[in-house]
């Protein structure tokens, strides 16, 4: 949180508490009464504290979860990079060692850095531990000049001792514990490393393990299984004599403070390399990853705040209801107090003192309980690893005192504001009439005389707000709302209340629906707040429309029930009560609408992201990647290694097991942009695939968009033209995340310049994320690519894909081949999305519980209020069952209205989210009807139970007792 916001928050809370203390000192007796109420009624106090702590716990949970996310990504960044702040590379290609010497000789750089080190690293197909007989694939070999690399920190060995490994000979290696565990390796073991530019040139190199380092510091470089050796030895393995492919730079300062100097050092590096004929990339890697961590943490917080707001509002309504219910129970006591001279403000103070004392306690407990909620959210996110962690790292629970204190302060302010409102609300009760058990007449409130003036004031204020900053989201949400209510207040002088409020509610709905449709994502706090407020106003506008038209709707509802042969005796008092007690009806409908709205949004959004798997597989079963290029998959060309290492078995794959397969070139491009604009939240690195005619013939991917007048096969043919490429549908660019379309220009860094292409077609898939071009083009732009390293395979009928994948991995071990079932991978991607939506649903579930609890309090309150009336009904012949049915009628009517509002608003917002996010993934908009019905049934049952239990209890009281009921 920004410091000024935090200080403002602290200032507000301190002011409120000082005011509270001053009131307590000047109203000692009232304060004593208020505090004594807590001790006298521990159950009531527990209910108040329970209701108050919900909002604090939700806020605290959101802060803890976002802190954990930010911290985990930052930690992963520090772990992965260690002291490395910048890297210099040449688009992944090796370059001459002299470049390092040139950089290291730059005095401006040496004055600002504490280490500059050359390295040559890359993946090797496989590593065998001859001693244990275990093979590991996907190992990273890092060649370092350990003396020059010393400033980047020591390796910490398993026994805790430190070494800079400069004593390694050319036949010795240091491996990290991650690789050691994979190989079951120990010091002294003999390792065979296989590497070749292509399958026919694979050679075996033998090393002995001298050190095993703990997975920390530079030993866990890139968080991989790492094998470190002398730079010269690595140059021999990679066959890049005298070359390196990365210069690592450590800025002055430690792992954390060094990153702050990245801007300056990057500029110096760029300057130092400016004279080179080659185009080097200076990457402030640590700063970039830290910025990404900040952004992801903030974005996550925005999402949680947006979702949590609904629960906070529902809990605020719960608090008001709890207080009003308590005041109902204490009305005789309050009446007596008023009779003895207690003024209305004293009643406010009495409840305020009790409430604020409880609020302090609740805020403290809630902020601590939030740690549990945060832990739950982090657990859920960990289950959805990729969706949750941009770095792919496991998230750890992390929070600091500021998080808890912030939650405490916000929770306290929310609670105090709610308690103050509830206390004021209580003071407006006609306590004297309540004491006599006389019903308050609840006619529609008269229009205050000053309403038109207030209306004009709102209108003027609305226009001023809009005029000051028309582009701001706050003005776009707030100004129209002020104008709508201003106009309504003015119009009420001349036009019927029902008509005016219906139009005002409808205007709110329409305007905010438009706002929601125009919102794209939760990129910043203002957008998140604007989206949340728009959703709230949409729901409240719809609630307003149904409430002012409740009479007509109730007639329809009653008519429908009459057709179902419901007794008029049941309908008559219930419908009268619904219309008379608009406040109770309004509260219930509002809470339930919000609850249903949230659940519908969560369900529909989750359902939309269950795309068709077959659309993503392209008709293939297996995706296989090899570290070494392979020319074909059916007759392996791996030669026995030339050194003394044991011969590798030649793979014996039965060609008849494969129906067909396609080999693709793969490279990684940097500096990707579309139409000259940076990619949207995707980084500038992207995959580039080299394809041939076989792929375009076999792949069953459809096109989402193509150039006009080109059919699918013509678009595939266009990639043979050097100016055209095909891309998948997941590319977004520009500040608002515009989706790529055919005809756009896509470019990336190539050699000393920039390669530009026209997008001929956008594939209707996102599984293979990247740019597709011909293999000839690939070799032109990426000369280091020697052959196919990605294989898409269709197994023969009768051959199980899983068995084929095992055969492939076994047979092509020397080539470091890994095979994956595409359907599994797509399902996993979907599962991760689903888990993310489950997280959302879980979070919204808090609102559901609070909402149901709140409705429960409303129904209990309603039943308590009507105890005497129920006695009268019993006296004139209502059976217990009829009394319960009568109250259920009201609950059913309220739930039906809420279901109509919540369902329609939920579907509108879900569709808006769908159209917004659908830019990334094209999937049909589907409504999970069964789940939606289930949610409505659950909500109805919860409400029915909350209604039936107190109703049944009251109906069982003897009529004589109920009639003479006085609390």
């Amino acid at each position: 949180m920004y410091l000024p916001m935090y200080l403002a928050l602290l200032g507000c809370a301190v002011t409120v508490l000082l005011l509270f203390a001053a009131l307590a000192v000047t109203n000692k007796s009232i304060f004593t009464m208020g505090v004594r109420n807590i001790i006298r009624r521990p159950k009531s106090a527990a209910i108040i504290v329970g209701a108050l702590l919900v909002s604090t716990a939700i806020i605290s949970g959101s802060l803890v979860a976002s802190s954990s996310l930010g911290y985990s990504v930052v930690k992963a960044t520090y772990d992965a990079l260690g002291n490395v702040d910048e890297t210099v590379a040449l688009n992944g290609q090796p370059f001459n060692y002299s470049v390092y010497q040139h950089v290291a000789a730059d005095s401006a750089l040496t004055n600002n850095t504490d280490g500059i080190s050359p390295s040559l690293y890359g993946g090797v197909p496989s590593v065998d531990d001859v001693t244990s007989g275990i093979t590991s694939t996907g190992v990273t070999l890092v060649g370092l000049n350990f003396t020059l690399d010393a400033p980047f920190g020591d390796f910490v060995l398993l026994n805790g001792t430190h070494t800079n490994a400069s004593d390694l000979t050319s036949s010795q290696v240091l491996i990290n514990d991650k690789l050691a565990q994979d190989l079951d390796a120990h010091t002294g073991d003999r390792l065979v490393v296989y590497y070749g530019e292509n399958a026919s040139s694979v050679k075996a190199y033998t090393f002995s393990v001298k050190y095993i380092a703990q997975n920390e510091g530079k030993a866990q470089y890139e968080l991989n299984e790492n094998l470190f050796m002398q730079l010269s030895a690595a140059q021999a393995v990679f066959q890049h004599e005298g070359q390196i492919n990365e210069i690592r730079v450590s800025n002055l300062g430690d792992v954390e403070s060094g990153a702050a100097k990245s801007g300056n050092v990057s500029a110096l590096l760029t300057q130092a390399l400016s004279g080179s004929s080659q185009r080097f990339d200076v990457n402030p890697v640590k700063q970039d990853m830290l910025a990404a961590a900040d952004a992801s943490g903030a974005q996550f917080l925005n999402l949680l705040v947006a979702l949590g707001t609904f629960s906070v509002i529902t809990s605020a309504m719960l608090i008001v209801n709890v207080f009003v219910t308590l005041s109902e129970q204490r009305r005789s006591e309050l009446g007596l107090a008023r009779a003895l001279g207690m003024k209305r403000r004293h009643v406010i103070f009495l409840f305020l003192f009790e409430g604020v004392t409880c609020a302090l306690l609740a805020a403290a407990i809630g902020s601590i309980l939030g740690i549990g909620i945060g832990a739950g959210l982090i657990d859920t996110l960990n289950a959805a690893t990729t969706a949750g962690s941009p770095a792919g790292a496991s998230l750890v629970l992390h929070y600091d005192l500021t998080d808890l204190l912030t939650a405490f302060l916000i929770g306290l302010l929310v609670a105090v504001a709610t308690v103050a409102f509830a206390s004021y609300r209580i003071s407006r009760l006609n306590i004297v009439r309540a004491l006599r058990n006389a019903e308050n007449s609840e006619q529609a409130p008269r229009l205050p005389r000053g309403a038109p003036v207030l209306g004009v004031g709102l209108l003027v204020f609305g226009f001023i707000v809009y005029g000051v900053s028309p582009q701001s989201l706050a003005a776009q949400v707030m100004a129209p709302t002020l104008i709508i209510f201003g106009l309504a207040l003015v119009a009420l002088r001349a036009i019927k209340r029902q008509q005016v409020l219906t139009v005002a509610g409808a205007a709110l709905v329409l305007y905010n629906a438009g706002m929601i449709f125009s919102t794209s994502g939760f990129n910043n706090f203002a957008t998140a707040v604007s989206f949340t407020v728009s959703c709230l106003l949409l729901v409240l506008g719809a609630v307003l429309v149904v409430l002012v038209n409740a009479t007509s709707l109730l007639k329809l509802f009653s008519k429908a029930l009459t057709r179902l042969k419901a007794s008029q005796a049941l309908i008559r008092p219930s419908s009268a009560y619904c219309l008379q007690k608009r406040e109770t009806l309004g509260t219930t409908v509002t809470i339930l609408s919000l609850v249903i709205f949230l659940m519908i949004v969560a369900l529909v959004t989750a359902a939309v992201y269950q795309p068709d798997i077959s659309q993503q597989t392209g008709g293939y079963d297996i995706r296989a990647t090899s570290s070494t290029p392979l020319s074909n998959l059916t007759t392996l060309e791996v030669q026995s290694p030339t050194s003394e290492s044991p011969a590798k078995p030649v793979a014996l794959l039965n060609a008849s097991d494969i129906d067909f397969y396609d080999g693709l070139f793969v490279a990684n491009a940097t500096g990707t942009s579309i139409n000259g604009q940076a990619l949207y939240q995707q980084g500038s690195e992207t995959n580039v695939y080299g394809i041939d005619a076989n792929f375009s013939e076999h792949a069953q991917y459809g096109f989402k968009d193509t150039l006009a007048d080109f059919n699918s096969s013509e678009v595939w043919n266009l990639v043979n033209n050097p100016h055209y490429v095909i891309v998948d549908s997941s590319y977004l660019y520009g500040p608002n995340g515009t989706q790529v379309s055919a005809g756009d220009t896509i470019s990336f860094n190539a050699g000393n310049g920039t390669a530009r292409f026209l997008v001929a077609g956008v594939l209707d898939e996102y599984y293979l994320h990247g740019i597709f071009m011909s293999k000839q083009q690939m070799q032109h732009y990426f000369p280091e690519v020697k052959g196919d390293t990605l294989f898409l395979i269709k197994s023969a009928s009768g051959m199980k894909p899983i068995d084929l994948s095992y055969d492939l991995e076994r047979g092509y071990k020397a080539a470091g081949l890994n095979a994956f079932l595409i359907s599994d991978e797509v399902s996993q991607m979907m599962t991760q999305s689903q888990q993310f939506f489950q997280l959302t649903a879980t979070y919204l579930g808090l609102g559901l519980i609070v909402g149901i609890a709140s409705v429960g309090v409303v129904t209990v309150r309603s039943t308590i209020e009507r105890r005497q009336e129920i006695g009268i009904m019993r006296a004139i012949g209502f059976s217990r069952g009829l009394v319960v049915k009568s109250l259920l009628f009201e609950a059913t009517f309220a739930t039906t209205l809420a279901a109509a509002v919540g369902l329609s608003a939920g579907l509108v917002v879900s569709y808006a989210i769908y159209t917004n996010l659908n830019q990334t993934v094209k999937v049909p908009f589907t409504i999970p009807i069964v789940q939606v019905i289930l949610v409505l049934v659950i909500v109805y049952l919860a409400v029915a139970i909350c209604t039936a239990i107190p109703a049944r209890n009251v109906s069982r009281i003897l009529p004589a007792e109920a009639i003479r009921y006085v609390e």
Binding site: S441, S567, Q568, R572, L579, R874, G877, L882, I963
Partner: protein, 230 residues
């Protein structure tokens, strides 16, 4: 024909462990068509007796029979149906449902008894007319005076032509003019329809119209007379 029988009826309340004997060994017989007034000082058990006899409350021990049927043998549905069709209640504080209009309050017992909506509405209007309140039919209780509210309560009690009407201090919250109006109304109805009336009252003018007067003290029947004793 016996309308109400009470044999050895006791009612004991427990307040904070203290037993309060509200009714002590009450025995009572009321004939069909009787107009019975129950009088006595405050707290003597009049309302408790009326509640126990009408089934609004349960005696601690003893038997109460209405039209020969022991109340204790009726389940809730039977008792509710009996109250809807054979009993009418008039309370001191009127006890009209505040959310319903006068007309709706009056027609409600008919709807409970299963009479269709149209007929219920006609009969309720007619009943309100008979108590001179047809102009106030669509007003809510809080818009009526105390006397008018009690007239609505009387209309509601009589709408289903009950065999017995229980009235608890029907004039207790009324001024003398209102009380006289209600008293006259009750007497007129009793004469016209031969309905049984059991009236708990402090008001001598109400007691005057009764055929029998029962005096109570400390939860027991002190005396009973066929003629009013004022």
């Amino acid at each position: 024909m016996l309308m109400v029988e009470a044999h050895r009826v006791h009612k004991i309340y427990e307040l904070n462990g203290l037993k309060v004997y509200a009714l002590k060994d009450v025995n009572l017989l009321i004939e069909k068509g009787d107009m019975v007034a129950i009088m006595g000082p405050s707290g003597c058990g009049k309302t408790t007796l009326l509640n126990c006899l009408s089934g609004l409350d349960e005696p601690t021990s003893g038997i109460v029979k209405i039209e020969g049927i022991p109340l204790a043998q009726m389940n809730d549905n039977e008792l509710s149906e009996y109250r809807a069709t054979r009993m009418g209640f008039i309370f001191q504080s009127f006890n009209l449902l505040p959310v319903l209009t006068a007309l709706e309050n009056v027609e409600l017992p008919l709807l409970v008894a299963g009479i269709n909506e149209k007929e219920a509405r006609l009969r309720a209007l007619s009943m309100l007319s008979s108590v001179d309140l047809e102009e106030w039919a669509h007003h809510k209780p809080f818009e009526l005076s105390g006397g008018q509210q009690q007239q609505v309560a009387v209309a509601r009690a009589l709408i289903s032509r009950p065999a017995i009407i229980w009235a608890d201090e029907p004039t207790g919250n009324l001024d003398s003019a209102g009380a006289d109006q209600i008293t006259a109304l009750l007497k007129r109805l009793n004469k016209a329809n031969r309905q049984t009336f059991v009236i708990v009252t402090h008001d001598p003018s109400v007691a005057k119209i009764a055929d029998r007067l029962i005096s109570m003290k400390d939860g027991a029947i002190l005396s009973e007379s066929a003629a009013p004793i004022v």
